[in-house]
Amino acid sequence: MLKSFEPNKIFAITSRAPKYVLFLFIIVLSIGLTEALFLSPEDYKQSHSVRIMYVHVPSAWISLGIFSLIAFLSLVSFIFKNKNFSLISKSLAPSGFLFNIIALVTGAIWGKPTWGTWWAWDARITSMLILALFYSMYLLSWKIFRNEKQATKITSIIAILGVINVPIIKFSVDWWSTLHQTSSVKILSTTSIHISMLIPLAIMTAAFTLFSILIFLMKYNTELIKIKNKGLDRL
């Protein structure tokens, strides 16, 4: 069982998987875009601007999910001194940061026709901006600190501190009066969004998840080869 976690076996999988994930991503994204842009109905209040939801909401969900995962893996890596977990966290960060930026930019684009402004310092938007700052600090720390142990320690602290912001983002719309509406898609109670909009939203979320897996696999392979390059220097 433990043998399947050997680096060469992990690499054998992660180096071959991207082409299949890319293929699947293109198919799911094509279906998602067709649904989101052409087949799904317009909203009775927001008209066609509601379509921005199909890129904005999955991006926000995935950026939050990835940061929570990074924090969890960082904690585990911090406690058990497991190098592989910090390597996984490092490889997850670029796509998480990108989705955070997409959520902020598409949110601003959606805000203009809906609220009449590109930006407002409301709780949800501000806390998402803080998340982007934590992502930036996390990624920059890997670049700045060349000592691997020091970098792992600092990035772990950033991730663990930053994850406090995740529940604030999630519940900001309930705790404070914000421009954002409360959640329409709920796991534990009835979802208020209509099925005709829920389907494209689910397909786009699947496509975005596949993209983050693809980027993760490619980045993980890059980091693994980088370590082996250093190993060849030491021979």
Binding site: E42, W110, M218
Partner: protein, 77 residues
Amino acid sequence: MINEIISMNGYGLYVWSAFSFTLISFGSLFLIIKLQLLREKRKFVYKFGSLDIEKSRIAKSQKINKEILVGILESKI
């Protein structure tokens, strides 16, 4: 019909720019990561090739190095 799709009741500019920004971001990140991966692969092949016989024997004994070389060869085919 096409005009309707493009204008989207006056919201077309917002909708198309949001989707375009997302897709361009995807393409850019994919390219950046792909280039980083290619650069590391090239570096690995170069370093592996410049090892002397003894060091090359040690490097070859590590399974992961073999996997990386196989991966590079497969991606070239």
